[in-house]
């Protein structure tokens, strides 16, 4: 898998894992919105996290996948795993 996990990667996985809320534009400025504000509940995030783990071969901390988390926070954590800054 390539080195960096981007917002586009996250959007692709979110759409496949859980779809997108009709009232939310995922292509808008979403990096700092909470997942809850983006229309995702805990199960959607569990499924999203699971797909990221499978695709990138990493294991994320359970407490990372909360509805209060933001796309930017999740992307930073995934990239920290990918760069080896966090051991899994």
């Amino acid at each position: 898998m390539s080195g960096e996990f981007t917002l586009d990667d996250l959007k692709r996985i979110l759409r496949a894992a859980a779809g997108a809320d009709e009232s939310v534009d995922l292509d808008g400025d979403i990096a700092d919105a909470s997942f809850e504000a983006l229309g995702y509940e805990s199960l959607a995030l569990l499924e999203t996290g699971s797909r990221i783990e499978q695709e990138y071969g990493i294991v994320l901390r359970d407490d990372l996948l909360t509805v209060e988390e933001t796309p930017r926070g999740l992307i930073d954590s995934v990239n920290a795993h990918l760069s080896g800054a966090v051991s899994t």
Partner: protein, 419 residues
């Protein structure tokens, strides 16, 4: 006091028609939805025909958030619920959430979704199983998803009693309305036409192994040889009559009576319970056999079960004492969806004054039934009986009364003899 409970909206998803209007038009001309299975290759299985719904594209009707988390049966149920609410002219957003509930029937749960996730479990590992498997497969999921989509927070649940459940759920909805919730979304939709679901149904030993759609499902025919399963059903909007009238709703008719029994253990020598269920339903509706204008049969299409249903009908109504029909010969048996679809069909039949036919069947003389075969029959229909039996001994019967007979003067008059 037992307040009258009426149906004000219909949502139909059937192998021979999507939407109540399409379904009814197809049913009147005897259009069958039975054919060789296309969803998977059925050639290795003993039964190969089914009533599949074609042309249903869930993404045209439902938001993308719902698609990864729903089995086919739930998608069909959600769309049927949308259509039923629209048909009833009900805007759920404008009503108090705790004054609306949802009680559906289910017979199998989300088999196709479950099959896909179980395949991932044994082929790739537990981490590949969808988080939505936690609920997408289970019996109550149609009620749950309808409740969430429309914000229905009143009494809700699921009834599981195979094909009888379709009536049992509607009866439970009526109970909750009489306890004070003015509107309940009810009915049932089943769909398990996938290899796992098919193996489970085959194991029941009741499927027809014919490869000819017009000769496969022949209830009350001397060539009866089991049933063809289908997918689909109907969602009904049920309301307290006074509340429905107060908002000016169009009323299809009343759920006037219900009875349910359980068969004695096999070999006991005691009679099966269907006759008693019919008698209980008639008594509950404060009426008698002479008032019944039409019966929708359970129509198992296994010789012994056909004999026992015909015997119950002859015992209550006399030989050829009432017209009997089974439009499910066009859809296959829909399990929990079958009786709600029969209820919807009965309301449409009462409105139009037309009895839809039992297709492809030549009624065997031994059953002594006035079976409406080949084509429609015109009739004034004011009281209709719907029967449903579930595997393992469930018998349910429901009496419906036409909209005309739920007009306020008649309803008020009837109140005087309600127990």
């Amino acid at each position: 006091m037992n307040t009258p409970v009426v149906v004000t909206g219909l949502g139909v998803v059937s192998p021979n028609g999507l939407g109540a209007a399409d379904y009814w038009a197809a049913t009147l001309v005897g259009k069958s939805g039975l054919s060789r299975i296309t969803r998977f290759d059925p050639s290795q299985y003993p039964a190969r025909l089914a009533g599949e719904i074609h042309g249903f594209a869930a993404e045209e009707h439902l938001p993308s958030r719902l698609l990864p988390q729903t089995d086919r049966m739930t998608r069909l149920a959600l769309v049927a619920a949308d259509w039923a609410l629209a048909d009833a002219g009900v805007s759920t957003a404008e009503r108090p959430a705790f004054e609306m509930g949802v009680i559906t029937a289910s017979a199998s749960g989300g088999f196709e979704f479950g099959q896909n996730e179980l395949r991932k479990l044994w082929s790739r590992g537990g981490q590949y199983v969808s988080a939505y498997q936690s609920f997408a497969w289970f019996y109550a999921v149609n009620s749950g998803q309808i409740s969430i989509r429309h914000g229905l927070k009143g009494p809700s649940g699921v009834v599981v009693s195979d094909q009888a459940g379709g009536l049992d759920a509607v009866a439970q909805a009526r109970r909750q309305i009489r306890k004070g919730t003015p509107l309940i979304v009810s009915g049932g939709v089943d769909a398990s036409l996938c290899p796992w679901g098919w193996v489970a149904q085959t194991a029941g030993g009741r499927l027809s192994t014919s490869d000819e759609p017009s000769r496969a499902y022949l209830p009350f025919d001397s060539a009866a040889r089991g049933h063809v399963p289908g997918e689909g059903g109907a969602i009904l909007i049920m309301e307290d009559l006074a509340a429905a009238r107060a908002r000016g709703a169009r009323v299809y008719g009343e759920v006037a009576g219900y009875g349910a029994t359980f068969d004695p253990r096999p070999g006991s020598g005691r009679a099966p319970g269907l006759r008693k269920a019919i008698e209980l339903a008639l008594a509950d509706a404060d009426t008698g056999p002479a008032a019944v204008d039409l019966v929708f049969a359970d129509a198992a299409a296994l010789p012994e079960l056909d004999r026992s249903e015909a015997a119950a009908l002859c015992a209550v109504f006399g030989a050829r004492g009432v017209p009997v029909t089974a439009p499910k010969t066009m859809t296959g048996r829909l399990y929990s969806g079958a009786a709600p679809l029969d209820l919807a069909t009965a309301f449409l039949a009462m409105r139009e004054g037309i009895i839809p036919p039992t297709v492809n069947v030549e009624a065997a003389a031994e059953h002594r039934l006035d079976l409406v075969t080949r084509q429609t029959r015109d009739a004034e229909l004011r009281t209709v009986l719907v029967l449903a039996r579930g595997h393992g001994g469930f018998n349910s019967a429901m009496v419906l009364r036409s909209a005309r007979d739920t007009d306020p003067p008649v309803a008020n008059e009837r109140k005087t003899h309600v127990r």
